[in-house]
Symmetry: C2
Subunit: 659 residues, 2 copies
C-alpha cells in the first residue's frame, strides 16, 4: 500500500465508521451505501469536487447530489470531515433525531452543503440535470470566469431503475450536458435482494444509447477510481461512471448482501468491521491525522474561492450576477403596466393565452426566467417574449423542449431553482400533474421557486375526454403543504398570479389555466394585486346579502350569471373570486370573515371535485362541482351536462335558502 | 401493384378516410397517427391478430392496445370495419360527441374491443406488459389449449419517451415476455415539431439494452411490414417493431409534419388527400368490396374462436377458468375464519403485518391473486401464503419482483386486472403513490380491480423523514373518483378491508397500512364486515354524548385514549372508526346521521392533512391533523411533536365545548 493509498483508505474508513456508528446509535438507517461508496466519495472529494467548506453558498461551487438519499450518512460524514460548520459531531450523534440537521434523508432546508432533498429515488439525478442546465445557461450569460462548475451525482440501482431517471438522462444526453457526472454505485443489490431479481438491463448500453459517455472502475481501487473520473471529466458528453462496489464494504459477514442496506449492522458486526478495517477509534471519534487530511481537502477549495471572488469583484457583471444568485427580482413595472393595458383594452382570452401575454412582458424584463413545456408548447402557450430554444448549441437560450417527460421536466425545474440564478417555469396539462407529482412535492418540501403552467384545467378542455380532464387535481394539490394553487379568472388575474408566483422565493406555484376563452371580469384599476390576497369580492350584493358565491377561474362566469339571476329575484349575492385558497387562508381573521359572513349561504362553484370546499361553505352551504370523471364532448355540452349553468345552479340556491 | 397490395391499400385507405372525415366532423382530434399507421394496422389486423368481432369478450383473443390513444380513430375504424357491433357508422359520425362510444381517447368502459383506456402516454404499453404477464400466468395454469394469445401495442414517440414506458420495457425484457409485440410509429414527429427537438436517443439500442428484440420496417410497404411482424413473432423476446412512417400519410401538403398531429386537416386538404389516395367514396362511406375484405378478416377469427370453445368445453379446467375470467371470487370462508381466530387470540401488530396475515390465508384460497412490490417486499409484507416468484422461468409463480418501478408496477396491475383471470395487488410506501398516481387514476377510471398495498402510511414511519412521510396523500386520493381509500385500525379491520377490496369487481382499492404496531381494538364478533360500511361506532358514549371522535387507522389509539379522558370528565364521547370515507358516503341517510349527530361536537383525528374532513365535522368541529410536512425522528417523538397525544387533544376538545 502506497502512502497515498493508505491515507485515502483511512479517510474512506472514517466515512465507514461514522456511518455504521450513527446508524447503530439511531437504531435505524442505511449503512450499506456509505460503506460501499466511501472509497469513491473520498477520491471525489479529495481530488475533484470544487467546494469551500467555509462558504457553502459559494455560487460557483460544484454541486454534489446524493441521489441515493438513504445513504445520507455519506454526505453528513463528508461535510463534517471536510470542515463545514454543520453538521457537528453532535449533529451526527443525533442522526435521525428530532431537531438534528442530520435527518434520515438529506434535506436541503436543514443543512448547507445538501444541494437538494433526496430520498424519493431517481429525482436526485433528475434535479442534477436541472442544475447542470442552469450552470450552462448562467455560463452563457456571465462567462467562464464567473460560472464554471460541475454537477456530481452518486446514484444507486434504485435511482437508475426509476422512470424519472430515464427521462432525465434522455434530456441530459440530448443537451450534451458534459459537466454532469454520475457515479453509479454498481453493487448488484436492491432491497429485495440481488438486482437480477427484477432487472436484466445492460445499464451501460442504455446510457450510451441516450448519448452518454460511460466508463467503469473498481470502486475500491483508488487509482482506478481516479482514472475513471478523469476520463469522465475529459469527455464532452455527460458521463456515467460505473463503480463496481461491494455494498456494506467492511462488514465482515454482511457485506455484499441486502442485509446491510437498510438496517443497523448490530454491535457484533460493527466490532468485526472495525477489526477488518483496522479502525481503532471509538465511535464518533476520528483520529486527528485523518481529520487533518480531510480538512486539507476543504482548505484547498478556499483558495479557489478566493481567486473566483477576485474575478467577480472585477467583473462588470457583478451586480446582475449577485442579484440573480440572491434570487431577487429586477425592479420593473412591466406587470403593472400590462395590467393597466388590460384595463384600458380588455381581452377576452383563455387564461393560457393570458399567461402567454403576461410572459410576453415578463420574459424580456426578467432574464432569469427559463421556460419550457413537456411537448405541449403550442397548447401551454409557454414560449413567449421572444426567448429562444435552450439547446446543446445555444445554452444561452431560455426555452427548453423537455419532450414528453413531465416528471423529468419538473424535477429539472427543481434543480434549476435550487441551483439559483434562474427561475424555471414549465408547462403540461393540469391532469398530468399526476405524472409529475413526485417532483411537485419536492418543490414544495424544498421551498423551490418552480412555477408550473398547467393548462386545460377542467372539463372545459372538451373532446379529449376524461383521461385529459382534471377533476380531483385542484383538491389533491391544495392538500399539499407549501404549494400555491392559483386559478385565475381572466387576463388581469392571470397577470397578478404570475406576479405573485415570481415573488415566492420559498415556495412553488401552480397556475391552473383554461383552454377555453374567458371574458375579462376585472375592468377597473384595483390599485393593488387582488389575487395576492387569495380571494376578494369581485361583485358585492345589490339587494340584502343572503348568498355568497365562491368561484374560481372559468367558473367565475357562471357565478356572475347566477348572481345576476338571484339579484333579479331580490336575493343579494356576493361573488368572491377564490384565486388561491392557500393565500386566502393566510389573511387575517377580519378579512376572511368579511368574505365568508356567517349569516349568508355560502356556495362554491368549481368544475372540479367538491372535496375540501366544505371548509368554507360549511355543511349547510352548497357545493357545485364534479365528483365523477368527465366525458368526451365539446366543452359547452359538458358544462350543460354537468350542471354548470345558471339555470341549473340558481334553483339549487333557492332550495337551499328555503331549507 | 399486386392484387393483394391493391386490396390492402384500399383497406388501409378506408382507415385514413374515416379518420380524417371523423376528425373533420368533430372539428377536433388527431388524424396524423391513424393515417400514418393505417398500412401497419391493416397488415396487423388482416394477417396476425386473433379476434372474433362477434365475441369481443372471447377470453383467448389477442389483446390490442392503442397506446398512442390520441389516434383513437385508428381503433374505431378497425373495430367498425372488422365487423364489431359497435362502433356503428353513426357512432363514428358522432366521434367526440356526448354519448358516443367513440370518445376523444379510447375508453374501455364505453366500447368492447378497446382493451384499456389510453391517452395518458406511456401507460398503454405498460398495461400491455401486465396483460402479457397475465396471459403467461394463466397459460401456466390452464395450458396452451385454453390460453395462448399475444398482446399487441401501437405506440408513438410520446409513449416511448415517458418514464413509465422505460420502467415497463425493463420489466418486460427481464421477464422475457416474448408474446408482447410493440409496433412503434416511428415518424420523427412530436407535438412541438421534429422529435429531435427533444431527443437524440437511439431507441433501438435502448430496447436491445433492456432485453428486447428489435426489427425495423418501412411502415408503408405491406410486404416489409409482414416480414417484420413475422420476425417479431418468431423471436422469444418481446419485440419492438420500428415502423418508419410518415405522419398524416396521404395529406398532400401536411403529411410528415406536426400540423397533422392534433387538428382537423381542413376541407381543402381532405379533398387533396382523397385525390392522392384515390379514394372516391363520400365521407363515412366505405365501398362494399373494401368493407367485405375487412369483414372477411373478422370472419376468420370466428373459426378460431369456435375451435377454442370446443377445446374449452372438453377441458377439466372449464369451470375454474370460466369462474376466474368472469372475475367471480371462489367460495371460501378463510377471511371470516381468520377474523374469528383474531377475536379468539388478539394480535397487536402493525397493519402491514396484519395485511400479511390476511394474505397468508387469502393467497392459498384464491389462486387468482398475483402479488408484488416495487422492491419493498419485506417492508410491504406482500409476499405471503407461500406464493413463489413470477419469473421468466416460472410464469406459474404469483409474486412479481417489480423492481424500483412504482408507476410501471401500477400500470401493469391495471393491465392484469383488465386482462382478467387474475387479481393483482402490489405494494410500495404510501408516499410513493405520487409516483404511481397516473396509473392509480387509470385504475379508477377504467374500473379495474387493482389493490394497492401502501404501507408506512404516516409520520408513524419515523426516522426516514418528510420525503417518506405521507401527509397529503390520504386527502389527495380520497378526492379521486371511484377509488376506495381504506385505512384499517387493527388486524380485524385489515382483514375486513382485504375482503372488501377483493369484492370490488369494478373499482380499485388502496390499503393504507401502518409501519408501527397497533393494538387490536376489535375484540368481539361483529357478525358482519363492519369496515364494509365505511365507518362504524367503535365505542359508544357512556355519559351523555357531547362529542363524536372520527379517527382512522393508527389514530384510533389516541382517539380511544382521548375518549376515555373525556368520559372521566363526564363528557360522553363516541369513537367512530372511519375506515373508508367513500363507502361511508354510500350508506343511507339514517346510518350516516346516526354516526354524525347534529347535536355533538364532531372531531376528526388523523395524522395527515385535515383537508376534506370538514365535510363531516363542519366548520364548528375540530380537525386534528398535520398541515405541514413531517420530520425525521422516532415515531413516538413525532406523534408527541405533532400533537397526537390525548394530553394535547383533550384540552382542545374542552375548549371547543366551551366555545
Amino acid at each position: 500500500m502506497t502512502t497515498d493509498t493508505s491515507r485515502l483508505q483511512n479517510m474512506a474508513n472514517a466515512i465507514r465508521a461514522l456511518s455504521m456508528d450513527a446508524v447503530q446509535a439511531a437504531n435505524s438507517g442505511h449503512p450499506g451505501m456509505p460503506m460501499g461508496m466511501a472509497d469513491v466519495a473520498t477520491v471525489l472529494f479529495q481530488n475533484h469536487i470544487k467546494f469551500d467548506p467555509s462558504r457553502p453558498d459559494w455560487a460557483d461551487r460544484d454541486r454534489f447530489v446524493l441521489s441515493a438519499g438513504h445513504g445520507s450518512m455519506l454526505i453528513y460524514s463528508m461535510l463534517h470531515l471536510s470542515g463545514y460548520a454543520r453538521p457537528t459531531m453532535d449533529d451526527i450523534r443525533n442522526f435521525r433525531s428530532l431537531g438534528s440537521p442530520c435527518a434520515g434523508h438529506p434535506e436541503n432546508f436543514l443543512l448547507e452543503g445538501v444541494e437538494c432533498t433526496t430520498g424519493p429515488l431517481g429525482q436526485g439525478i433528475a434535479m442534477a440535470v436541472g442544475m447542470a442546465m442552469a450552470e450552462r445557461n448562467l455560463n452563457a450569460t456571465f462567462g467562464d470566469d464567473i460560472v464554471d462548475h460541475r454537477t456530481w451525482v452518486i446514484a444507486g440501482d434504485g435511482c437508475l431503475m426509476e422512470g424519472v431517471n430515464h427521462e432525465a438522462i434522455g434530456l441530459a444526453g440530448h443537451l450534451h450536458l458534459g459537466r454532469l457526472n454520475v457515479l453509479w454505485d454498481d453493487n448488484n443489490i436492491t432491497i429485495d435482494g440481488p438486482a437480477d431479481l427484477s432487472t436484466s438491463e445492460d445499464v451501460k448500453a442504455r446510457y450510451e444509447a441516450t448519448g452518454w459517455h460511460v466508463v467503469s472502475c473498481d470502486g475500491h481501487d483508488f487509482d482506478d477510481i481516479e482514472r475513471a473520473i478523469n476520463e469522465a471529466k475529459a469527455d464532452s458528453r455527460p458521463s456515467l461512471i460505473a463503480c463496481k462496489t461491494v455494498i456494506g464494504k467492511g462488514a465482515p459477514t454482511k457485506q455484499g448482501t441486502s442485509a446491510t442496506h437498510g438496517a443497523p449492522l448490530g454491535a457484533e458486526e460493527i466490532t468485526g468491521a472495525r477489526e477488518a478495517l483496522g479502525w481503532n477509534a471509538a465511535p464518533f471519534e476520528v483520529p486527528s491525522d485523518i481529520l487533518a487530511d480531510w480538512r486539507a481537502t476543504g482548505d484547498a477549495g478556499s483558495d479557489l474561492h478566493g481567486a473566483w471572488a477576485a474575478r467577480l469583484a472585477g467583473s462588470a457583471h457583478r451586480g446582475e450576477f449577485e442579484r440573480r444568485m440572491a434570487g431577487n427580482l429586477p425592479e420593473t413595472n412591466v406587470i403593472e403596466d400590462h395590467i393597466a393595458g388590460l384595463i384600458a383594452d380588455p381581452q377576452g382570452v383563455a387564461s393560457r393565452k393570458a399567461s402567454e401575454m403576461a410572459l410576453d412582458v415578463i420574459n424580456p424584463a426578467m432574464p432569469e426566467t427559463i421556460g419550457g413545456s413537456a411537448d405541449l408548447t403550442g397548447s401551454n402557450n409557454t414560449k413567449a417574449g421572444g426567448i429562444e430554444g435552450f439547446t446543446a448549441d445555444n445554452y444561452g437560450g431560455r426555452y427548453v423542449y423537455y419532450g414528453i417527460r413531465e416528471f423529468g421536466m419538473s424535477a429539472a425545474m427543481n434543480g434549476m431553482a435550487l441551483h439559483g440564478g434562474v427561475i424555471p417555469y414549465g408547462g403540461t396539462f393540469l391532469v398530468f400533474t399526476d405524472y409529475a407529482r413526485g417532483a411537485i412535492r419536492l418543490s414544495a418540501l424544498q421551498k423551490a421557486r418552480a412555477i408550473y403552467v398547467m393548462t386545460h384545467d377542467s372539463i372545459g378542455l372538451g373532446e379529449d375526454g376524461p383521461t385529459h380532464q382534471p377533476v380531483e387535481h385542484l383538491a389533491s394539490l391544495r392538500a399539499m403543504p407549501n404549494l400555491l394553487v392559483m386559478r385565475p379568472a381572466d387576463a388581469v388575474e392571470t397577470a397578478e398570479c404570475w406576479q405573485v408566483a415570481l415573488q415566492q422565493a420559498d415556495r412553488p406555484a401552480i397556475l391552473a389555466l383554461s383552454r377555453q376563452g374567458l371574458p375579462q371580469v376585472r375592468l377597473s384599476d384595483a390599485g393593488e394585486n387582488l389575487s395576492a390576497k387569495g380571494a376578494y369580492r369581485l361583485k358585492a350584493a345589490g339587494a340584502d346579502r343572503k348568498v355568497v358565491i365562491l368561484a374560481t377561474g372559468a367558473e367565475i362566469g357562471v357565478a356572475m350569471e347566477s348572481a345576476k339571476a338571484l339579484e333579479e329575484a331580490g336575493i343579494g349575492t356576493d361573488v368572491v373570486s377564490m384565486v388561491c385558497t392557500e393565500l386566502f387562508d393566510e389573511q387575517d381573521d377580519a378579512y376572511r370573515a368579511d368574505l365568508l359572513p356567517s349569516d349568508a349561504v355560502i356556495v362554491s362553484i368549481e368544475a372540479a371535485s367538491t372535496f375540501g370546499w366544505q371548509r368554507y361553505t360549511g355543511t349547510n352551504g352548497l357545493n357545485i362541482g364534479i365528483d365523477s370523471f368527465g366525458a368526451s364532448a365539446p366543452a359547452k355540452d359538458l358544462f350543460a351536462h354537468f350542471g354548470f349553468t345558471a339555470d341549473a345552479i340558481v334553483p339549487q340556491i333557492h332550495n337551499k335558502l328555503n331549507d
